[in-house]
Amino acid sequence: MDETNTDVIQGTLDMLILKTLSLQPLHGFGIARRIEQVSRGVFKVNPGSLLTALQRLERAGWLDAEWRQTENSRRAKFYSLTRAGRKQLDVEAADWSRRVTAVARLLKAEG
């Protein structure tokens, strides 16, 4: 696993965070773990980038943040999606699928 690239594709981290949080509020580690699990280990999120992105998204008004107790009674900062965040997710998701389709078409033409 050392040799395979597990970096999140540039520019998609925000969308992945928004998508992850659209299901339920989570703290930073929870988000990282969820992305890793759902992507079946293809993406590993760099914690520094994740926390930076969370601050940026919170400031943009797409996330709300709140300190709460976790199930194992630690204090953690939980993030949840705002209405503006949901809209933003739709925009980014649509944009992403448009791009993916285009890339797929190009690859097919090549191959």
Binding site: H27, G28, F29, P47, G48, T52, Q55, E58, A60, K77
Partner: protein
């Protein structure tokens, strides 16, 4: 919905205000991540120790995470700026010599520029303080020789009836009534104006009413409008003042209006009271040139259109009415009022502004040079920072922060100096400077100073910053890199050439003006000022309604003064030299109609003798030149030259003001300085007081005595009051004190130009010294090698001098060429000095060259001290 971006700003500000709390929160979040990761690792079966290690590896250091999160917000830019500023302050503090010289240089440049800008702005740039001020024009009567006549009531009346391009037109003359009443009598400044005066300016009284045509007719009602200042100072500021009476010149006059406090009367700035002119055409001065004419153009009429119409109308009036006081060649012209007011001072102000701009430019070049030299010394520091990972843009940014900080602090000091200097400038400004009261360092001037400062900071910061950034990585910490200093030396050399050239232009301009002033001030004042007592007597009261009464009062007062024991001679004059009096009349050869503006003195017999003004030709005024005798006049030598060009003026006849009477010239007398700073000689005409047709309501007394003449003042005053105890006696002064005050004016003017010149010289010297001594330091190794190889001290001195003087010489050549062009700008301000005056050019060139030699000499001497052994060992 929340405003977008609002949260971003709030969070950023929060982070700036509470940096610790923000950091703690990030740390806690990162710590929680670490804890969860550790737990997860343990759950996967790692030992607690390995679990922590793995989590640490995944997260990296908490400090790194904190930095990464924090640097993503906009507030990070602010923090970097603050850090840059802190570093800049520390670095500038660490070099107190450099910092103080740079700050002083900048303060000088910015301060001088801001101060002069504050003076120039209200005078030359701002519109006049009236609605649609661009529509207000002066209506000028231009003679064929380009000189200007005052206007006449007759022409005003005709224009008012015929013109279609003017909304309103008005004439005015000055008026100095004495106000009597419960308080002390006071002589006021005022104006007699035709009915539409305030309509031309576009300002109406704040209380009461404006003048109406019914007020302005001969024998009309006795009414006045007063200024807000007079209203508060003398009349208690009570609105019920409208309709009450004040006694002016002993006559009751009804107050019908009070002007608003912000009303600025540019045509007579100190006027506090206005009364209708009340002329009609039966008046014998109806066609006398003694009024000032202004008008307000109709909207959408241009000054050119108005001039065209006025010229036609003027020609028609002259054709139809043939007034005796007009030459047929006279042409009327409309001149924008603002332009007309500043006509006299515009070239001087622009020249000073140009000079100050040069000072600023030289200051900038100097500071750039200082920064470049400092950049040299700091190359090690830059290399170290680059090696530690500072990016090139980071270094440039740091250096620009430093130079901007330098500029802002220097600029702030400069603006402080400017506030102080402007106060001095205004206090000492010549009285003919218009809009005097509007001058001050205000927000506009500060904005200007700030803009200049910022531009200056960027201008002199960019070059050194770019050079440092270019040099830093390449030169990474190697000591022997002195060899590559050549390119940098060239930049600085170029700057020195520019600086010397600019300094030369400035020095030459100041030099030429200084020489003019010296020539002007070296002119004899034309009379004997020592032991001469002067004072002014004013007449007021209805008893003086008739001219003959005033004449009789002055006659009897003079007789009483001459009776005072100790008085050897005494005389009266309508205006006193050096006192600020400026009374000019249009004087023409009889029947010629070509008037010349001339100082007019109505004097008693014995005035010339008391003043000791020499009679050059013919005779002086004598008691026989009395009221009934044939009118006679004296002219001064300068007027004789202008009017007669060598021909004998004795026996010729001139008209002074109105065409009747004509005066026979009986003598030519020496020139006298009337106004202290006037450029050029002024023409003068003297008439006998008894023969002058109009009474002056104020006369100056001049007294000489045996022994201490100052001690006679109380007795002289008592003698005047023995004739009439109600007349104000003012301005009691010894002529020598008036002369001293004049000298102070002149000293200020000289000082201003000397300061310019010295400033330029000092800045140029500092610049040359900086570059040449920097060059010596850079070439220490070369010089060491040369002297080790047997070069003599003399050849080393020559080497250094050649470097510095070569640059200075090139600068001087360019500066001389530039001056030959630039001095065109001040040609009109020079007095009996050519703008290419060889003596000035030679003196200034030699001065600058020797200062440059001195500035090179010190580093050259230091170069001979270079010890070859130690330099070579240092390699």
């Amino acid at each position: 919905m929340r405003l977008p971006g609002w949260r971003r700003i709030a969070r950023g500000v929060g982070a700036l205000l509470h940096p610790r709390a923000t950091a703690r929160e990030i740390d806690e979040e990162a710590q929680h991540y670490l804890d969860e990761a550790t737990s997860a690792n343990i759950a996967q079966g790692l030992t607690p120790k390995d679990a922590v290690r793995a989590a640490r590896i995944e997260l990296g250091s908490i400090a790194n995470v904190r930095e990464s999160v924090r640097s993503s917000g906009w507030e990070n830019g602010v923090e970097t700026l603050l850090a840059d500023l802190r570093y800049a302050v520390r670095s500038l503090r660490g070099a107190p010599g450099f910092t103080s010289i740079a700050l002083l240089t900048l303060a000088l440049g910015v301060g001088a520029t801001t101060a002069i800008f504050s003076v120039v702005r209200p005078v030359l740039i701002d519109p006049l303080p009236y609605p649609a001020a661009h529509r207000i024009v002066t209506i000028a009567e231009m003679q064929a020789d380009g000189s200007r006549n005052s206007g006449t009531f007759g022409m005003y009346r005709e224009l008012a009836q015929r013109s279609r391009s003017l909304d309103a037109i008005a004439v005015m003359r000055s008026w100095q009534p004495t106000m009597t009443g419960p308080d002390q009598p006071e002589r006021l400044e005022g104006q007699r104006v035709s009915a539409d005066y305030f309509r031309v300016l576009g300002v109406a009284p704040r209380l009461g009413r404006n003048f109406e045509p019914a007020d302005d007719r001969a024998g009309g009602p006795s009414v006045v409008i007063i200024s807000d200042e007079l209203w508060h100072r003398r009349l208690g500021g009570n609105p019920s003042v409208i309709g009450t009476e004040v006694a002016l010149d002993g006559r009751p006059r009804t107050i019908i209006g009070v002007m608003p406090p912000e009303f600025e009367n540019v045509l007579a700035p100190s006027a506090g009271v206005w009364t209708p002119l009340q002329y009609d055409m039966s008046e014998n001065r109806a066609w006398g040139h003694h009024l000032r004419t202004v008008g307000r153009l109709r909207p959408a009429i241009t000054v050119e259109q108005a001039t065209l119409e006025l010229r036609q109308l003027g020609g028609k009036v002259l054709d139809e009415l043939r007034p005796e006081t007009y030459a047929a060649t006279l042409e009327l012209t409309a001149i924008p009022l603002g332009e007309d007011l500043t006509r006299g001072v515009r070239p001087a102000l622009l020249a000073i502004l140009g000079g100050v701009g040069l000072v600023l430019l030289i200051a900038c070049v100097n500071v750039t040079n200082l920064l470049l030299a400092r950049g040299e010394q700091r190359s090690g520091e830059f290399a170290l920072r680059a090696a530690l990972g500072a990016g090139r843009d980071r270094l440039v940014r740091q250096l620009l922060t430093e130079s901007l900080l330098l500029a802002l602090v220097g600029g702030a000091l400069g603006m402080l100096a400017a506030t102080w200097a402007v106060r001095g400038l205004v206090a000492l400004a010549p009285p003919e400077l218009p809009r005097h009261d509007a001058i001050g360092v205000d927000s506009g001037a500060f904005a200007f100073g700030l803009a200049v400062t910022t531009l200056v900071g960027l201008a002199f910061g960019v070059l050194p910053a770019v050079q440092a950034a270019r040099g830093a990585p390449r030169r990474a910490l190697q000591r022997g890199s002195r060899r590559v200093a050549g390119a940098r030396g060239r930049t600085r050399g170029t700057l020195i050439v520019v600086e010397v050239a600019l300094a030369l232009v400035l020095l030459l301009g100041s030099g030429l003006l200084l020489r003019s002033l010296q020539r002007l001030f070296a002119m004899p004042i034309g009379f004997e000022p020592s032991e001469l007592l002067t004072m002014q007597v004013q007449t007021s009261g209805s008893r003086f309604g008739e001219d003959s009464v005033a004449d009789r009062f002055f006659e009897r007062a003079l007789a009483a003064i001459q009776e005072v024991p100790g008085v050897t001679s005494a005389a009266l004059t309508s205006q006193l030299p050096l006192s600020g009096d400026l009374d000019e009349y249009g004087v023409r050869l009889q029947a010629s109609r070509d008037g010349h503006s001339t100082f007019r003195y109505a004097v008693s017999a014995g005035y010339l003798e008391t003043m000791r003004i020499p009679v050059r030709r013919g005779r002086s005024l004598e008691p026989r030149d009395a009221a009934g005798a044939s009118p006679v006049a004296l002219i001064n030598a300068s007027f004789a030259r202008r009017l007669f060009r060598g021909a004998d003026p004795i026996g010729k006849r001139v008209e002074i003001g109105p065409p009747d009477p004509a005066y026979t010239i009986v003598g030519v007398v020496g020139d006298v300085t009337q106004a202290s700073l006037a450029l050029g000689q002024s023409d003068a005409v003297y008439t006998s007081l008894a023969q002058w047709p109009f009474a002056d309501n104020a006369m100056s007394v001049v007294v000489r005595g045996s022994g201490e003449v100052a001690a006679l003042a109380p007795a002289v005053r008592a003698a005047i009051w023995s004739v009439d105890k109600d007349q104000p006696v003012v301005r009691v002064a010894m002529m020598e004190d008036l002369l001293d005050a004049t000298a102070a004016d002149r000293r200020f003017a000289l000082l201003l130009f000397e300061a310019f010149a010295l400033g330029a010289l000092a800045l140029a010297a500092a610049g040359i010294y900086g570059v040449v001594s920097g060059g010596v330091v850079e070439r220490t190794r070369e010089i060491g090698v040369r002297s080790a190889l047997g070069a003599s001290r003399r050849s080393i001195v020559a080497l250094v001098l050649r470097h510095g003087m070569g640059l200075a010489g090139l600068g001087i050549v360019i500066g001389l060429a530039g001056s030959a062009v630039a001095t065109h700008a001040i040609a009109s301000m020079l007095f009996s000095v050519s703008r290419l005056d060889a003596a000035t050019y030679v003196t200034v060139t030699l001065l600058l060259a020797s200062v440059a030699a001195l500035a090179c000499g010190v580093p050259a001497w230091r170069a001979t001290r270079v010890d070859p052994a130690s330099t070579l060992r240092a390699e």
